[in-house]
Amino acid sequence: MNTYDPSEPVIRVVDILSTEVNGQTVLLSIEQQKYFSMRTTSQRVWQLLEAPCTLAQICERLVEEYDVEPQACEREAETFLRDLWEQRLIRSSDATH
């Protein structure tokens, strides 16, 4: 599997079921047979990842919506996206599968 490239647009992988329960986003990765959950800001990022977006685009939105410094936002968002990538929850939106 390729490593995460922050300049590339990414999107959720297909085989994920995502729903909201008691304010948490809960996810099932069908391919991996694993469950995940997200709260607060990570939920917002996950929501944005329904369509292809780059790290810069995500940060632009988060800075608009939350009280956060752009640099801190980028640092944390990149770590989070890298995490999602390694958990195989997102993929490059340019890839064919």
Binding site: T19, E20, V21, N22, G23, Q24, V26, L28
Partner: protein
Amino acid sequence: MSTHFHVLHGVRIVSDLRLTDVPASAPDPDPQVSIRIATVPRRLANATCTLRSSQTDGEQWLFSAPGVARYLVTAGNEISIEAEHDASEEAVMAFLLGTTWAACCHQRGLLIMHASVALIDGHCVAFVGVSGAGKSTLAALLAARGHRIASDDTCVLTLDGDGAVRVHPSFPRVKLWSDGLSILPAEAAPTPAIQPGKFKISIENHWLSESLRLHHVMELADDRNGATTGFETLSGLQATLAVTTNTFRPRLVQLLGRQRENFAMSAAVAKAIGVHRWCRPWGRDRQGEMIDMLSRWIQRPAR
């Protein structure tokens, strides 16, 4: 061949075989599932997924219980059974009402749970937990205290349009590990065991056969590892997992490709009603304490 009508987990059935233990119902002009004695193939020509004893081609699910019978479930509305000539009726029935029925429910898109269900002071509670957690024993103890029981082993949950969750009961019997026997009410006499160690006991006097509005799902834990007894309300992923991981025959959900639906329904149930974890006092000499603890929690003032 005679025709039998039953309702199991809210599903209307017509059957060539009388379903032992499942109460008979009135003749139904429009049954949802038909159970037939018929020829059943040894394998599916276009199987897409094969396990040791079962396979599916997407539309059909074939299950083979060696020395007992082969079962073919089609589109959630037809079950064909070809029994081995020397198979006992009890064994044929056990595989029909266990794994085969679970596959039929999964094909129908129903959320079938491994849970016992009791109505306690007007609150309907589904108890879930790993095998051996004490679901059946708890049902028997609650019956002995005069509470009504709707399931000792499996039930189906459905979501009503208004956001309510309904529980559709199974049939009246409690399967207990043999050390659970001593707490049963005096009138309940054990009938012969199907599996070694498990007893089939009728609790018909305490049985609820109609569907009910479910109020709580309660995951059973105990204090054997030194944990403090008490109740904890679960939310989000924990609550969803308490439902989805206690689906009856979870490997079939996977085999039949119903995980997406199963997860969505489990999340919807977790969202709609209370999901809790109950760490109980463990041990036969503490059963009274355990039931008192549950009664107090049920009767607690609304928050």
